[in-house]
């Protein structure tokens, strides 16, 4: 049941992310590289949706990117610690979908997951399979 809810929310986010990214970049030049696209997600996209930039971006240069938001907007009202941790995935699925959808609109297939150990800090991992 919970998995079903999470996957529905993820799909809703994906639809929204796709349209949003298209509207955002309608009048702008194409991106140069994959990293440029990821940077766009961390800056303009994040600021537009969450009113702040991400706090850190790391990559292994093999298609895995980890975005850290140490005060993730959807969690700041919820907890400053471990309370409600078990409910966090439901409130992150939509955002994972949002990122996956935005990347898809630039032609990138990805898997996006979220991880929280202490709220409101959250890590989003983007994996782009290399073909």
């Amino acid at each position: 049941m919970t998995n079903n809810i999470i996957s529905k929310l993820e799909q809703m986010g994906c639809r929204v992310g796709q349209s949003l990214a298209e509207r955002f970049t309608r009048d702008s030049p194409r991106f140069g590289s994959e990293l440029d696209i990821i940077k766009f997600i961390c800056k303009e996209f994040w600021v537009g949706t969450f009113k702040k930039q991400v706090d850190n971006l790391r990559t292994n240069h093999l298609g895995v990117y980890v975005i850290l938001d140490s005060r993730f907007k959807l969690l700041t009202h919820m907890s400053a610690g471990e309370q409600y941790l078990e409910s966090a995935p439901k409130y992150l699925a939509f955002t994972c979908g949002l990122v996956r959808g935005a990347l898809a609109s630039f032609g990138i297939n990805s898997v996006v997951t979220a991880e929280v150990s202490t709220m409101p800090s959250c890590k989003f991992q983007i994996s782009i399979p290399k073909t």
């Binding site: 529905k8 799909q11 809703m12 986010g13 639809r15 929204v16 349209s19 949003l20 509207r23 955002f24 970049t25 009048d27 702008s28 030049p29 991106f31 140069g32 590289s33 440029d36 766009f40 303009e44 600021v47 537009g48 949706t49 009113k51 939509f94």
Partner: protein
Amino acid sequence: MARQGGRATDPRKVSQELFTLTYGALVAQLIKDYEQDDEVNKQLDKIGFLFFACRGYNIGVRLIEDFLARSGIGRCNDFRETADVIAKNGFRMFLGITPQVTNWSAAGDEFSLIMDANPLADFVELPDDHNQLNYSNILCGVIRGALESVQMAVDVRFVQDILKGDNQTEIRVKFIKRLEDALPAGEE
């Protein structure tokens, strides 16, 4: 390659689009889950009014607290004042529009909110097989939930919708009764 200019995005516009698109995704998901338009209408109204009833999660009830805290508006003296506050303060704060308050019933217990623009329904066109759908029906639940919190029971429904080919979007609000504070246990 550094890329300047061209990607200037107005954050306010983005959050409005995020909101509108998210609402659209919600309606689309409900259509997938419930199929029948009248069932979707019912669900939308419920989400606005009484979502997760067991937990007391209710969008209208939550929005009114945010509204009262931010606006500092106190109790209304009568239903006309309530109508004005909904249109000029409530809709303004949450949707950025000010519907017209009109078509008062003779008894003064019923009015209409007329919207020229509806941000929830930007970019939306109803497919032919969903002509019974009240796309923005969540607004009914929200108004009902919000007013119940300030001790007013009302009935709210869509009577016209631009999405259905009407000339304007009209929500009808009817006063039913005042609700009283709960008596302390054991008192009559």
